[in-house]
């Protein structure tokens, strides 16, 4: 029993769940238990979006130093506009709209990888330049109009089963799939191997470039899906709908116990970190603090977690 506990505590993801539990308890102590369940279902619903982007960012970051997808917010903004425009408010076109958002996301992934591969530039610069261009495409495509989602799609993104958002259940299943992809497939193992030592991975015969390419496509695709879902959840697309998800995705990866220097990933921790961050904001809201304090506390928590965890010794 004792050794089991010790093994549990040595898992990096445990802390994010403990943190989530603590802030939730602090919030319900403050409200004397009022709204305890509501906080969790609202937390689950909001955590869904950061978890989806967190998965995308986790795969990219695991590829090793310098790998990060800075184009996620622009991607999400464009995909939300594409999805809503294609759906055009009609229930019969939901699948087509989702498909279009997926294609837009994958297209962005292809663009990112081509820049990295053709120009031999660090991914962080490639995705940064790409995000400038995607933003402009989004502005000129969206033309500032806010298209409402079809009623069926809006309903789908907010419906709850016994207090648990359907979207959260779906995303849990999705993340389980990604855990299998990461730990049990050749692709996932390749990502981890490249993150640990790209040269060794290459010498071992791993298709380094193909794995990198697929990872950026995956990140793009997840960004696209997230954009469509966000537009449904918030009842309309907007170009800055994804702005907060660059920071959220990186924060989730860090707090969730994934190594920022690559080669070590943790899917379980993403949910803990996502819930932790959402519930932290809920707690601060119930305390009635101002937006400024909320930002400062969020920032200090992110710094505190990374400083406490410390980095690995330089290789």
């Amino acid at each position: 029993m004792n050794s089991l506990l010790r093994r549990l505590l040595s898992q990096p993801w445990v802390w994010s769940y403990l943190g989530a539990l603590l802030v939730w308890l602090a919030a319900i102590v403050f409200t004397h238990g009022y709204g305890a369940g509501g906080m969790i279902s609202a937390g689950l619903a909001l955590a869904v979006f950061s978890v989806i982007t967190g998965v995308a960012q986790m795969f990219v970051i695991t590829l090793g130093p310098g790998n990060v997808d800075l184009s996620l917010p622009a991607n999400i903004g464009l995909a939300s506009a594409v999805a809503m425009k294609v759906m055009g408010g009609s229930d019969s076109l939901i699948a087509l709209g989702l498909g279009a958002a997926l294609v837009s996301g994958i297209g962005i992934g292809v663009g990112n990888y081509l820049l990295i591969w053709l120009l031999r530039i660090p991914p962080i610069i490639a995705t940064l330049s790409a995000s400038f261009i995607i933003q402009s495409i989004g502005i000129s495509y969206g033309r500032g109009l806010q298209i409402k989602p079809p009623p069926g799609f809006a309903e789908f993104t907010t419906v709850q089963l016994a207090g648990v958002p359907l979207l959260a259940i779906g995303t849990v299943v999705l993340t389980l799939g990604f855990a299998v992809l990461l730990h049990r497939t050749i692709y996932g193992r390749s990502v981890l191997a490249i993150g640990q030592n790209p040269r060794a991975a290459w010498l071992a015969g791993i298709a380094v470039e193909r794995t990198r390419c697929f990872t950026y496509l995956l990140s793009g695709a997840l960004g696209g899906i997230c954009g469509a879902l966000l537009a449904g959840y918030f009842r309309g697309s907007s170009l800055d709908i994804g702005d907060e998800y660059l920071l959220a995705s990186i924060a989730l990866v860090v707090i969730g116990g994934t190594s920022v220097s690559g080669g070590k990933a943790n899917v379980t921790g993403l949910w803990g970190a996502g819930l932790f961050l959402v519930l932290l904001l809920t707690m601060l809201n119930t305390f009635g603090v101002s937006a400024g304090i909320r930002y400062v506390v969020t920032g200090l928590v992110i710094i505190g977690v990374i400083v406490a965890a410390g980095g690995e010794k330089a290789r």
Partner: protein
């Protein structure tokens, strides 16, 4: 003996082959600036005048300063994602306190610079990625800016406004300022002996460490310099806009990274160029004006910045490919 001579001949040959490529790379930033200026002159010759340049370039000064701040951080292989929000915060402090309570304002700004130095120390001592720490600081600066200035307002101190609206004889003030900034930083970091150590600590930290220099100190010095130039950027921005809002410098994070890269800076390895960074920042500032004159919709403004970045990087990749290209993992 012969093998030694052979090696030195080989080195000489390699150096010779490398020289034109190095020159090409070095003039690339100036070339892109010249192209943008030529474009502006073509579409609107009247813009190339004392007043025209003043108008087009004065908002370039804060961008130049923020780019130099980012360059210091990039020199030691780190990245500052918080610089834009830091500039906003400095702007808010300047517009609120620097006018009514200068002592408090100055104390806060010095404290901010101290926080930057502390950030460098924490990043080095805990060996944590700067991208995450500065990401956290981004939230902190943003929160503090909102607390200081919940809604747009404030007023720049008169002296700041006067400095930024200086009328220099013959040459417009923004150009004078850019040249002075480039010269000061160039001599400080490219010509001085400690500057070489600072760059070396990005290029080969192990060697610098073994030679007895403190890597903690180089990291702290670079972040301290970044903090100082971030403060200067915020002050100059408020001197121009005369009032502040909590998001006034938000776009500077990406602009500053783009400016450093555009100016020929490498992402890792301590290879940076202050003169190039200043030119890069000015190019990005002028690109928007050029698009305006070309009657291209402002929708494509950011897109054009991205496109310029990609074109310059592509040109650089082409130049590099002429020689022995090495894939990172091979």
């Amino acid at each position: 003996m012969t093998s030694l001579a052979g090696a030195s001949t080989l080195r000489a040959v390699v150096a010779e082959v490398n020289t034109p490529r190095r020159i090409l790379r070095a003039i690339l930033p100036a070339l892109s600036l010249a192209l943008v200026v030529a474009g502006i002159a073509w579409f609107n010759p009247r813009a190339i005048s004392y007043f025209g340049i003043n108008l087009m370039l004065n908002l370039g000064i804060p961008v130049v300063l923020a780019t130099i701040a980012q360059m210091f951080v990039i020199t030691v292989n780190e990245l500052d994602l918080s610089i834009g929000n830091f500039v906003s915060f400095v702007g808010c402090v300047a517009a609120i306190w620097l006018r009514e309570n200068p002592v408090l304002g100055v104390v806060i700004l010095i404290g901010c610079i101290g926080l930057y130095a502390l950030m460098g120390a924490v990043i080095y001592l805990r060996n944590v990625p700067s991208i995450v720490v500065t990401l956290g600081m981004l939230f902190v600066w943003q929160g503090l800016a909102v607390l200081v200035l919940p809604r747009p307002g404030g007023k720049a101190p008169a002296w700041l406004h006067d400095i930024m609206n200086l009328r220099t004889p013959y040459v417009p003030f923004p150009i004078v300022a850019a040249v002075v900034i480039a010269a000061v930083v160039h001599f400080g970091i490219m010509q001085s002996s400690y500057g070489a150590i600072l760059r070396g600590s990005g290029g080969n930290p192990n060697a610098i460490g073994r030679a007895g220099w403190s890597l903690l100190r180089t990291k702290v010095v670079m972040f301290l310099l970044a903090g100082i130039f971030g403060v200067l950027s915020g002050l100059s921005l408020i001197g121009l806009t005369t009032s502040a809002d909590a998001n006034i410098g938000k776009g500077y994070t990406l602009l500053s990274i783009a400016g450093v890269i555009l100016g020929g800076g490498e992402f890792v390895g301590g290879r940076v160029s202050p003169i190039g960074a200043v030119i890069g920042a000015l190019t990005l500032t002028l690109a928007g004006t050029l698009l305006n004159f070309m009657r291209i919709s402002p929708d494509w403004q950011v897109g054009a910045e991205g496109a310029i970045l990609i074109i310059v990087l592509a040109a650089r990749a082409l130049i590099n490919r002429a020689g022995p290209g090495v894939l990172s993992h091979k």
